[in-house]
Symmetry: C2
């Protein structure tokens, strides 16, 4: 069967064998597609893990990490790429949950990987990736679209981590959806700076490989390094989370760089402020700017707000996460009845398509809860306009019910973010005797005293109903806690109030 992750590399090696496939900026390493095919074939043979065995990876972005992303599934083994920001205890829990046969780690994660391998009884620890890829290409796994390719732990934003099982068919389907939506071409040069341990970070790896494009890999986000990489490698395409975009613009304002090679900027993973959108569109007037919305369970792409939507006169769609991409169905359903809601009404986003996950690893109950008749219930709330564009209002469980009124925290956050002193904001409900829940905000300001709580509440009351304005505000100069993928971990802020 051809429907597996070995296919895109094989095509690229045949059609673009001498083209540079990957540039690892940190190490200076460079491989062609022909070499990449041989190396990941050798990796598969060297793994010495039974078919279906789980292979953990704990590493910053690198050529080695990218080779694991492509090569472990292509060898018929299951990739479990772990979030490098997790604590040792958390990593041990995941290693045990996945039942890792081997853990591959880079130098910067060697110490913690040794501890995890020992405590979680992982039979083999590999700290020298190059030793794995030096042998002959000996790939012989028999794979099909239903073969498990990866378990991707979704820190999610709440509760116990779940291992999202993604098949070869799921990941290839998502790659096709990205190819259709973005139009990857052999002459593209993609900068990978979002973490490769997250499926949002790898989404374009597969698509760009299939098209024969070039990958340029940075270990992690650093605005200086990103600007330099764009200049040095004539980067055409980049995916950033909004926080990275803001930092890039900020840095570049003080340290001008030649970013004129950029043709396509994607952002994803968390809400963006209208202010930041405007700055990006103004700074890159000749660039395609696109938003992608999705989740690990959808491998991950669900909707896109296209470059044309971004440049539409009047900007009506800038607040939208876009419309379902070709290949994916997304509908708004009443979370109780499961029936579609009318245009304009808030419903839960349900997702269907060949990209939707197999289920949660060893959690049949969580799987049954999340999947209904082939639809994945995302838990995200949104409304749609008459054109079918979706507007996120909140995670359903982040909705605040105060005095019988529903408050969508994202609406309050957007208003607070408009205040000039506000850098970051998180709004959630806290227990309140009188109102059941009360609206609470954590607000990051540049320096202490830049704004008062009273001033911010007054600012809100100028734009939204009084019951939506925060009843209490914590002011801080510390950044808000975020997941490896840059998602705000609101539950960390909220939990102390409910404990």
């Amino acid at each position: 069967m051809s429907e597996n992750l070995g296919w895109p590399v094989r095509r690229a090696a045949r059609l673009f064998g001498d083209a540079t496939a990957v540039v690892d900026v940190a190490s200076g390493a460079k491989v062609t597609y022909r070499e990449l095919e041989r190396r990941i074939g050798a990796l598969g043979a060297a793994l010495d893990v039974p078919e279906g065995g789980r292979v953990g990876v704990l590493a910053a972005n690198s050529l080695a990490h990218l080779e694991c992303v492509l090569g472990v599934p292509a060898a018929g083994r299951v990739l479990v790429s772990l979030n490098t920001r997790l604590a040792e205890d958390e990593l041990c829990a995941l290693a045990e949950d996945a039942g890792l046969s081997v853990l591959i780690a880079d130098e910067s994660n060697a110490a913690i990987a040794e501890a995890v391998a020992r405590r979680a009884a992982v039979p083999r620890l590999v700290l020298e990736h190059e030793a794995l890829v030096g042998g002959p290409d000996a790939l012989t796994a028999s794979l099909g679209p239903d073969t498990l390719a990866a378990i991707s732990y979704t820190g999610g934003t709440t509760g116990r981590p779940k291992g999202v099982m993604l098949s070869h068919g799921n990941l290839l389907a998502n790659a096709r959806h990205n190819l259709i939506t973005t139009g990857h071409r052999p002459e593209d040069r993609w900068l990978h700076v979002c973490p490769l341990f997250h499926v949002a970070g790898t989404a374009n790896v597969l698509a760009a490989t299939w098209a024969g494009a070039r990958h340029v890999v940075l270990p992690r986000f650093d605005a200086t390094q990103v600007c330099r990489a764009i200049e040095d490698h004539a980067i055409t395409h980049v995916v950033l989370v909004p926080t990275m975009l803001a930092m890039l613009l900020q840095h570049e304002a003080d340290h001008p760089a030649d970013l004129s090679s950029l043709r396509h900027i994607q952002y994803a993973a968390s809400p963006i402020t209208p202010e930041l959108q405007r700055r990006v569109l103004d700074r890159f007037p000749d660039c395609d700017v696109a938003q992608f919305y999705g989740m690990t369970e959808a491998a991950p792409t669900v909707t896109t707000c296209t470059p044309a939507d971004h440049r539409r006169p009047g900007g009506a769609r800038l607040a939208s996460v876009g419309a379902p991409v070709v290949g994916v169905e997304a509908e708004l359903r009443d979370p109780e009845s499961g029936r579609p809601v009318p245009v304009g009404a808030v419903g839960e986003i349900w997702v269907r398509g060949p990209n939707v996950m197999v289920g949660y690893w060893q959690q049949p109950e969580a799987t049954a809860e999340a999947m209904v008749d082939g639809w994945y219930r995302s838990g995200d709330a949104a409304y749609a306009d008459a054109d079918g564009y979706l507007y996120l209002v909140d995670r359903l469980r982040d909705m605040i019910i105060t005095g019988g009124e529903n408050v969508y925290s994202v609406e309050v956050e957007a208003v607070l973010a408009e205040h000039p002193a506000v850098l970051e904001v998180a709004v959630f409900g806290i227990p309140d005797e009188r109102w059941g829940e009360a609206v609470h905000a954590v607000v990051v300001v540049e320096e202490a005293g830049a704004a008062s709580a009273d001033e911010l509440v007054a600012h809100c009351r100028g734009s939204i109903a009084g019951f939506k304005a925060p009843r209490s505000i914590d002011l801080t100069t510390e950044p808000l806690p975020k997941s490896g993928a840059g998602k705000l971990l609101k539950h960390r802020l909220r939990e102390p109030f409910w404990a």
Copy 2:
């Protein structure tokens, strides 16, 4: 399940409901995507055929025909769109082979359809398409990717017609491959002038619908009408067979038209001469020009020679049918051993992918012969260059073996086509006592006496080996026989010699 032909229309109706979906130039009819969804839903309900039943269509291109292409499969019935150029006896044979439950025909085909329905005992004949689409949308079929969507009779170029069974999954896979390769967008306006009864004619119907683009339909090719339609409807995309391209350029040289809206010209279905390629590229310097190669059994796309390949300095790839598109594997195999042949050697094109047909309708032996381990053996011979680009040399069965030497007729045809007096040419083997087979050519010239056989043989000997030059030439001013899809029917020319 979402994986069926109802899906693209449903998406377009939701996201682009008020946009014009189809313009029928001949009748002046126009429908939006919302109307199109309702009409094909009504069509399904009105068909009154059991699920899986075969629905024949005998019609020129029209809104009605396009609605059948989308609506019959979306209703869980099997589309059998018949070649309007076939004779009554041939159509009767196909109607009986398919076991049609109903035959839908337009006015221009009503008389022959009545005769076919009577002789082949088709239970129901529909001559009023509008009566089928007037009711409510009542689509309730349960469909999946493996459900049979269409039986497409491949006149092929030799032997008894075979009904190629294409599933919903096959046709959606091909649509994805076309979307990835061509990059359809909502603002595109596609002119459909190749016959919709051939899968090459419908390939972009599905892809363009999925993207929400506009279809403009002409009943058949006519250079004057094509030029007028491009002007009147600001056509951006068109697919033509080489013969049509040549006629269009010829016509337009005498009757200048404003074709400046064109952005993308695809050609397919038969070989093109270098001269015609050069003229197209010169006439449309700002247009993407792409060649597609495939076959009904692959639904149909296999390879593409991209716009970038066409504009490549030196033009080295102009003689190639291109490289396999993303999503399709094509390999050159030794037709005897089934083993891959080395770079540069001639082999048979084998094709694999989610687009490859289910099999031949009620012909298990022909299916078993054509399918090996999931690969479709195309019968086409080609060699590949070091970059993986394929160069067709011939249908294997069109190869001429003369005096122990292999002669690929396409090579001889290319040389003859270079002669200024030659309009069209077909080369094939005829029985010869001394050589086994002898190379024979049928050459179309503009007027009698424009070139002599001796002169043409001398012309060949100036470019290719003596044993490849024709031993006999028939000169004519009549066009060569072609299939509805514009494919040269060489077997009709050859058969009299072998009878």
